[in-house]
């Protein structure tokens, strides 16, 4: 798959430079590959950071801004950021009230965030590890479940809690609750292509999909014949729904993994909505679009969050980032 890049080794830093150029509210430390709020750190506010391998844009750098993250550390494509980068992000986010680390559950990320937390002398750190992917226990890069779509929702909801002046313990608690009440599953129609590799990560026959794929192309549950959108929605919604308790309805998030166009994402959302209606589960909020991607992988994921009233208020609060923006 062809790429619009200069040299593969420069993709991450050049893309970060473009992000900062396009959004004056953001600044980028190109040395450390950390995106942070240009007006940060915000004194007295709990700071939020996340980070991980690049290739999942807008996650995480595109979610830096008022009401969401204070800083994000960008690793190479599909490669964890090193502890020094995470430490730098922590410092950019530290307004004196502590910093929450939001970490997707991949072995390298978890280890490097732990090391950075140990290095962050004098900064109070809390950590929430997202692990919402119901497809597989353990996988190529993970002990336990992978962290995927719920990470976007954790960043938004915990970010609003921090903006509202809550303490580090309170912000960490709501982040943990979002993770615990949100579950996801995805499927791929095609592989993405890592720039440095120059060829698709995996091959899929033209008549098959990878059900339960990970956001780095990790194998899922099984390969199955290309389903209709209706069948695909059921393959994703049923396992997710089996693991949540949506007493007060759900936030339904249909996520494009990269190359799948919006016309298909909305079509899938319609199928997800119809299925939830048959289950008697009301959708009280929704999100449709490419928010946690896997380069140019074709496919979608579905995340369902069993919301409560507090989460809804925090979800609706103003946010001003390149990837999510409302109320400002």
């Amino acid at each position: 798959m062809k790429k619009l890049i200069n040299a593969p080794a420069d993709v991450v830093v050049e893309s970060l430079a473009g992000l900062a150029a396009a959004h004056p509210s953001l600044a980028v430390d190109l040395e450390q590959r950390v995106v942070h709020r240009a007006d940060g750190p915000v004194a007295g506010k709990v700071g939020l950071i996340s980070g991980g391998g690049s290739g999942h844009e807008p996650l995480h750098g595109g979610f830096v801004g008022l009401g969401m993250l204070d800083a994000a550390a960008a690793g190479e494509v599909f490669t964890s950021p090193v502890p020094d980068q995470i430490l730098a992000a922590t410092k950019y986010a530290d307004g004196g009230a502590g910093v929450l680390h939001i970490v997707k559950n991949y072995t390298g990320d978890v280890m490097n965030f732990e090391m950075a937390a140990e290095l962050a002398d004098g900064v109070q750190i809390a950590t929430v590890v997202t692990n919402d992917d119901v497809a597989v226990e353990d996988s190529l890069y993970t002990a336990g479940r992978r962290g995927v779509g719920v990470t976007v929702l954790v960043e938004k909801i915990a970010g609003a809690a921090a903006e509202a002046g809550r303490s580090l313990a309170e912000v960490a608690a709501v982040a943990q609750r979002v993770n615990d009440r949100g579950r996801s599953m995805g499927l791929a129609l095609t592989s993405g292509t890592v720039p440095a590799a120059g060829k698709p990560t995996f091959d899929l026959p033209e008549d098959q999909i990878e059900l339960g794929v990970g956001i780095h192309g990790e194998p899922g549950r099984q390969r199955v014949p290309l389903p209709s959108a209706r069948e695909a929605a059921a393959m994703l919604v049923e396992p997710v729904l089996a693991e949540i308790s949506p007493e007060q309805g759900v936030l339904a998030f249909v996520n494009g993994l990269g190359a799948t166009p919006l016309i298909e994402q909305y079509l899938v959302y319609g199928e997800v909505a119809a299925l939830l209606e048959r289950h008697g589960v009301p959708i009280v909020r929704s999100l449709v679009g490419p928010y946690i991607t896997s380069l140019d992988m074709a496919g979608v994921s579905v995340t369902l969050l069993a919301v409560d009233e507090e989460m809804l208020q925090l979800w609706d609060a103003p946010v001003n980032t390149p990837g999510l923006r409302w109320g400002v």
Copy 2:
């Protein structure tokens, strides 16, 4: 290329149903395939409609809402909506102060909007035809230049003018000025695939791009070897810049055509920004993302709008649509 759909014939209507399900502020007339504001028409406000073939999402249905369009008519993929659909959209948008038709310059669209305007007895209609693509004069579906990226900017800026209570003549005038002062050009790395065709519209060797491609895969100026992002930015920016007079700077819009991931779009934006800086042209606003797409085509387009103070005020005004949202 595999698709997440049910039947090809149902893609448009099912995707529209999903759009409406995801966004309670919108309603969809599935019979006419018209997306409209659920609270519309807005009495006393100039109505704005657009429409065209599907496959360019979020354009146009995703730009219906406060501060932008009042209704949008969706044709089949890459096929103009028929006059009855456009007439229906006109009626959904008619709040008694007239309706502006925003039409991309493709022969079928222009003809069918003209017929709908004639059928719209008792509704005052003004029409602006966008034709910002500098790649080619005339093309497969067009007499004169094609309408592409500037259409998004026309819809936003004219929509804000209508929301501010301006007359039909005034709204049409600012829409026309945006079109006249904005120019675009795109390039494709791969073709998209129309669902009903099931195979790519055109073939491109792995080492070539289509420079000046249209949003339906129409041929552009020439096929050239795959350039670096830096070279690609120059290939798009130079011809565009040659045709505008950016005395007060530009709104720079880097648009993803579908399958090109955001990491590459921001990288290209960085190159565009560097190039404009060397030309001494300040970027005063920017937009980066997939806003006018061509299904799953890989590629980007660049639109530069030579702004004035009035356009900037209207650009910054609140907007609340699935595709663009701020200030509310």
